[in-house]
């Protein structure tokens, strides 16, 4: 785009749509930018030297362990979400309108219940004398340790984050022209190949979009790991909470937050090339 074009479209933006964004911008600045700025600045100012809090973070092995664990749990949750959500979203995109509504409700209704309540429900299900273990015992199996394990955390987080994976996937899959599948078959492609060569590539934008949302949300999870996990499965946000609320060390807590933020941006930068599409979905006439 040439210079005058972009500046004129910018001035058009200022004179019209800009006003519409003001309320949202005002709230974002007040509740997001200001506190974040405070946290960042205190992470640098509340120490003997500017970088003291960061040097402490990277020199404390437990921090690194938890940081890596946070990314690992987020990655596992994302992966499980993709595997579980993909066939579900596909089913949603091909069934009739009534069944589709039911499938959408199944995704959204749990979504309307607060995360804390859902996590507490998982406590009831997963605890040593919970529903799952009682059933296992009744069937003659041994008890399984679920609560206060990473498995328990992964199960709970996956359930809570699943809608964030299903909805973008569904949105993309609904736009895939199923006649392309017929076309591939008529051209001699086995149904399995048709899936991997045509359907999967076309649905990947949905996978990336959902995976990015789930992964980033999972990195910041606090309540679920706290209630379902033990010492061995705490995530970075739990440590931040300890520093800030228990130890009142805003500098160190802030540094942890900034590390997580920077790591997240780094991840986004790595993921961005995959999300860019060289082609447009529609074949023209639709």
């Amino acid at each position: 785009m040439s210079e005058p074009e972009s500046s004129s479209s910018f001035s058009r933006f200022l004179s019209g749509p800009a006003l519409l964004t003001l309320p949202a911008l005002a709230i974002l600045i007040l509740v997001m930018a200001v506190p974040l700025g405070t946290v960042i600045s205190r992470s640098f100012t509340e120490g003997e030297t500017v970088l003291e809090n960061y040097i402490w973070f990277f020199n404390t092995p437990v921090n690194i362990t938890v940081l890596i664990r946070t990314f690992r749990i987020a990655a596992v949750v994302t992966l499980v979400c993709v595997i579980v959500a993909y066939p579900y979203a596909y089913a949603m995109s091909v069934v009739g309108p009534r069944l589709r509504l039911i499938l959408i409700m199944c995704v959204l209704v749990p979504f309307w219940v607060s995360g804390v309540v859902r996590t507490l429900a998982w406590v009831i299900l997963l605890q040593d004398s919970g529903v799952i273990n009682k059933t296992l015992l009744a069937l003659g199996f041994d008890k399984v340790k679920l609560i206060r394990t990473q498995l328990g955390v992964t199960i709970g987080m996956t359930q809570i984050l699943l809608p964030f994976m299903i909805m973008p996937l569904y949105a993309v899959m609904r736009g895939i022209d199923l006649r392309l599948i017929q076309a591939a078959k008529s051209l001699g492609a086995h149904p399995v190949k048709t899936f991997f060569q045509v359907y999967l590539p076309l649905s990947l934008p949905g996978v990336f979009a959902g995976a990015t949302i789930v992964f980033i949300l999972a990195l910041g999870f606090y309540i679920t790991p706290l209630l379902l996990g033990g010492q061995q499965s705490s995530m970075l946000s739990t440590l931040v909470q300890q520093q800030v609320l228990s130890l009142l060390n805003w500098g160190r807590g802030g540094a942890m937050g900034v590390v997580l933020l920077v790591a997240t941006f780094g991840f986004l930068a790595l993921a961005a090339p995959f999300m860019r599409q060289k082609y447009k979905m529609s074949g023209g006439a639709r």
Partner: protein, 368 residues
Amino acid sequence: MTNERKGAAIDIEACSKFYGNFTALDDVSLRVEPGEFMSFLGPSGSGKTTTLNLIAGFTDLSKGEIRLGERPISNVPAHKRNIGVVFQHYALFPHMTVAKNVAYPLRQRGVAKAERDRLVEGALAKVHLEKFAHRYPSELSGGQQQRVALARAMVFDPSVLLMDEPLGALDKKLREVLQLEIRRIHRELGSTFVYVTHDQEEALVLSDRIAVFNKGRIEQVGTGHQLYSNPATLFVGQFIGESSILRGSHRVNGDQTALDIGGVIVSAPGTPKTGGAQVILLRPEDVTVQAPGTGPRDGRSNVIQGKVREAIYLGSAMKYEVILADGTPIVARTATQGEAFGIGASIELAWNPLDGRLLTDDGSVGGH
């Protein structure tokens, strides 16, 4: 350039397709000859696309059998039928370049890279798109996309090529250009072509023979000329070309049948093939418009009075819409040289009885 390799015959044998209580195709039989260009013509919901989908293997037969060459194919999955299909909305893979789209069927058949490149280049040359090989489909116009789809459907040398209203989404001018290209490609390939369309003109331009579909059945199969000059049913007569219909009580006179049109007796050759009301179908070019009382009164011509409702100058001809006393509209087309009549003029319509077609009223009037 002619091709020695010939397309395969398609035999549709007593095929039916039911969707619950709905009969999409009702006991249809048809043979498409090897190398023939056949159009399936009919209104939407007439079963033409269903038949195409059955041949392609996209839908399963409820009853009957389809043979390709001599081989029954109803149990052969779509991807093993080796039939090329061109879709109305192109169905190009949006994530692949033009070259990759065209190479796709070759890749499925394990054709080596060098050979693949050669064939893709050849197919793109046939549709004049060599320069667009590395574009994505969304960067092409509708006409170009359909050419790519055509190249992709023929690059693997299928014995049969099916086309489902391939030009339906394009404007008239482009359609005419592509129609000629499709004819040329058909000649060059020598494959059997089946072309689904609801546009009778397109069917006439392209096909060796046309199968006219209506309500899940085939009404008639024949060349465009046969369908136009000798329609088997009123539906076919109406669907192909322009026509006027005369109704009235009928009486058989030897090898002729007379119709009483509000007191005027007109006749047509033949006797009713089935019971029920009879009509006479007239083609506009067979009807003469003349001043009352000026025509030959030899007792052989059919003559009937009317009023001009519309007179349209077409350059090479005049087209008249005439209303008879009982309100029946008749279309007549005459040479421009003759006497011209204005709107509202009382005139006389005359035609040779042999030019009228006696048909059974199948209730299809208005279904154009």
